[in-house]
Point group: C2
Chain length 326, copies 2
DNA sequence: TTGTAAGCGTTATCAT
DNA sequence: ATGATAACGCTTACAA
C-alpha cells in the first residue's frame, strides 16, 4: 500500500479511502491511484483491514457437506450472505472433526456469527457458544431456545403426509423412523399425532430406522412379515424411502397400486423421474435467507432477543402415493 | 494477550511462545499463563498472527458445492489438509459467483495455494493465476500444463467401460456425451478410441447430451428410434445414465437383458441398490490427497516444476451391464 | 481534498 | 527463562 501511495505521490490514507470507495478523494487522484495499483498489481490485505476494523464480516457455517440438503443450504447461504455484505466460512464436519472442533475453527477465524446446520450437540453447549457469538441453529427444534432457531416444522410436515394419505383412504399407515436424533424424533411425533388426530391410534405402527437406504430395505422386509400389511409406509427421509421402494419392487409389490410410499426432504433423489417420490420440501432457500437475516439482524441492528422462525414445509405429491387398494 | 500477560505477571512475548507451544518457557510459567488464559477466556487472534507471520497456511478450494463428486472431494481435502497443517477456505461457485469471482475471494483471503475442482476457464487464465499462487487443477486435462494437475484419466476410464462391454460380446455400443466441457470431451474421445481399438469404428454412435438426467431421457428416446438399436449405451456420467435407465424401463426394455447401460463417477446414485449402476470410480480420496500434496510440496518444499498426477480410474461392475442379448 | 500518526493483536529479534 | 520493541498492512481520527 505504501508502494502504491509513493508511486502515486499520495499518502496511504488516500489509497485506503479509494479502495474502500468512500467519499472524499477527487476523481483525478482516484484514477491515478487505481492505475498505479493495477500496475503494481496490488490488492488490499483483508486480514490487515479486519484487524484494524476489529470486524470480520465473516459468517461461519457448520455443515456436514455430504448431506445433500446441507449442500443446497450452503449455496443459498453463501449467496444471501454476500448480498448482505458478509462472507461465509465453511466449517465442514468430518470423521476427524466433530462439532466442537469445527466450532473452534470457526471461532478462530473470528466469525461474527455462526449458522449451525442440523447441530446435534446438547442445547446447553449451544447456549454456551451463543454467549460468545450469535448462534443460529437450523433444522432442529429447541426446547427453551436462547439461540436463534430456523427450521421447517417437522411435526407439521409429517402430519401433512399422513393427512394426504388418509385423504386417499389409507388407514394402515406404518412409519419408518430415522433414529433418536432430534429431527427424527420430531418427525416421528408428527406421525403419531396425526394418526391420533384421525382416530387411527390402533393403526400406529413404528419400525425403527436410521435415515439410511439400508434401513429402508430392512423396513420393507419387516413390513412384509406383518400379518396384515400396511397400505402405506411413511419413511422419515428420502434415502430410506428409496431403500423401501427398491425392496418392495424386488418383492413384486407395486407402488402405489398395492402400497404407497412417502419420503421427506424433497431431495434430488425424490425428484429423479426414476424415483418420483412423494415427499416434503423443507424450503431450503427460505431457511437460508431466514438464517442469514437472523444473524445479520443481531450483528447490524443489535437485536438481542432470541428469534424462532418456523417455516411451513410443503408437501410434494408425486407418483409413489395413491389411493388405498380396494 | 496483554491482559493475560499482565494478569500472569509476564510479557506478551512469553504468552505468545506458550500458545505456539515453542521451547523456552518453563513448565511453571506455562501452566500459570494457561490458567489465566482459560480464566479470561482468551484465544489467539488468527488474523493478527498471520499478519505478523506473513503466512496464512490457508488452502483455497474452488468448488461447485452442488456437485456430489465435489462434495466428496471437499471432505477428503479438508481432512488431508489439516493433517498437513493447512486450513481450507471454500470458494463456492454459485449462479451469481463465477470462477473469476471465486478466485478473487480466495486471493483476498490470502490463500497460499488454490485447488480448482473441475475448472472450466481457459487455460491461459489458469497460468495467469498460477503466477500469483500455486494452482492445482483437479479433474481436467490440460494441453501444456504449467500448473499442477491431478485427475483420473477420463480417456482410460471410458476405455475400460468399452472394454468391459466388448468383453461381454457387445458391438453396437452407443455413447451419450456430456456436452463440450473438457471432461465430457475426454470421455467422448475415450469411447471413440476404444471402439477404434476394437475394430468397431462402424458402430461408433454418438448422441449429444449435457450430463443431466433429462438428457439421458432424451437419449433413450433417440435410441429407440434407431433402425437397429444398440445393445449397450455408455453414458458420460451417472446422472444421465439414471435418466436413461428410467426411460428404458418405462418403454419396457429390460436392463441388462435387452440393453446394457453404464454411467461414470460411481456416485451415491450409482451405488443405490435401487439403481445399482455399472460405473467408473474416480478415486476421490486419492485425488484429494494428491492435490493437497502437490500444493504443500510447492509451499513447504519449494518445488517449482509443474507436476501432473494421473490416477487410474476403477471400473465398478454392477447389475446394469450384462452379456449381449443373443 | 489530502497527510500524519496512533492503534489493531500478533510474531520475531535482540537484549537481559 | 524472560522482556522490550519493532514490524506486519491496514483504518481512522485529527490536522492541514
Amino acid at each position: 500500500m505504501q508502494d502504491v501511495a509513493d508511486r502515486a505521490g499520495v499518502s496511504k490514507a488516500l489509497v485506503s479511502m479509494i479502495f474502500r470507495g468512500v467519499q472524499g478523494p477527487s476523481a483525478a487522484t482516484r484514477e491515478r491511484v487505481m492505475d498505479v495499483a493495477a500496475e503494481l498489481d496490488y490488492r488490499p490485505n483483508r486480514s490487515a483491514a479486519l484487524l484494524a476494523l476489529r470486524r470480520t464480516h465473516l459468517l461461519g457455517v457448520m455443515t456436514n457437506i455430504r448431506n445433500t440438503f446441507h449442500a443446497e443450504m450452503v449455496e443459498h447461504l453463501v449467496e444471501h450472505a454476500s448480498e448482505r455484505g458478509y462472507e461465509v466460512v465453511l466449517g465442514a464436519l468430518t470423521p476427524t472433526h466433530g462439532e466442537e472442533a469445527v466450532m473452534n475453527t470457526l471461532l478462530d477465524f473470528r466469525c461474527e456469527a455462526v449458522v449451525l446446520l442440523g447441530p446435534e450437540v446438547e442445547s446447553e453447549l449451544l447456549s454456551l457458544w451463543n454467549a460468545r457469538v450469535p448462534i443460529v441453529s437450523v433444522g432442529r427444534r429447541l426446547a427453551r431456545p436462547d439461540v436463534d432457531v430456523v427450521r421447517a416444522g417437522d411435526l407439521r410436515g409429517m402430519s401433512s403426509v399422513v393427512d394426504h394419505l388418509v385423504g386417499l383412504g389409507h388407514k394402515r399407515i406404518t412409519h419408518v423412523t430415522g433414529g433418536s436424533n432430534p429431527i427424527a424424533v420430531d418427525r416421528r411425533s408428527g406421525y403419531v399425532r396425526a394418526m391420533h388426530r384421525h382416530g387411527l391410534d390402533a393403526h400406529v405402527d413404528i419400525i425403527e430406522g436410521d435415515f439410511t437406504e439400508a434401513s429402508g430395505v430392512a423396513a420393507a422386509a419387516t413390513v412384509m412379515r406383518r400379518a396384515t400389511r400396511p397400505t402405506a409406509v411413511v419413511a422419515s427421509n428420502d434415502r430410506s424411502a428409496v431403500g423401501l421402494l427398491d425392496a418392495l419392487q424386488r418383492s413384486g409389490i407395486a407402488v402405489p397400486e398395492q402400497m404407497s410410499v412417502t419420503g421427506y426432504d424433497d431431495s434430488v433423489l425424490a425428484q429423479l423421474a426414476h424415483v418420483d417420490l412423494t415427499s416434503v420440501s423443507q424450503e431450503a432457500r427460505e431457511q437460508a435467507v431466514s438464517a442469514v437475516d437472523a444473524a445479520v439482524d443481531r450483528l447490524d441492528n443489535g437485536r438481542t432477543e432470541p428469534r424462532s422462525v418456523v417455516l411451513r414445509p410443503r408437501l410434494v405429491v408425486r407418483s409413489t402415493s395413491g389411493p388405498v387398494p380396494s
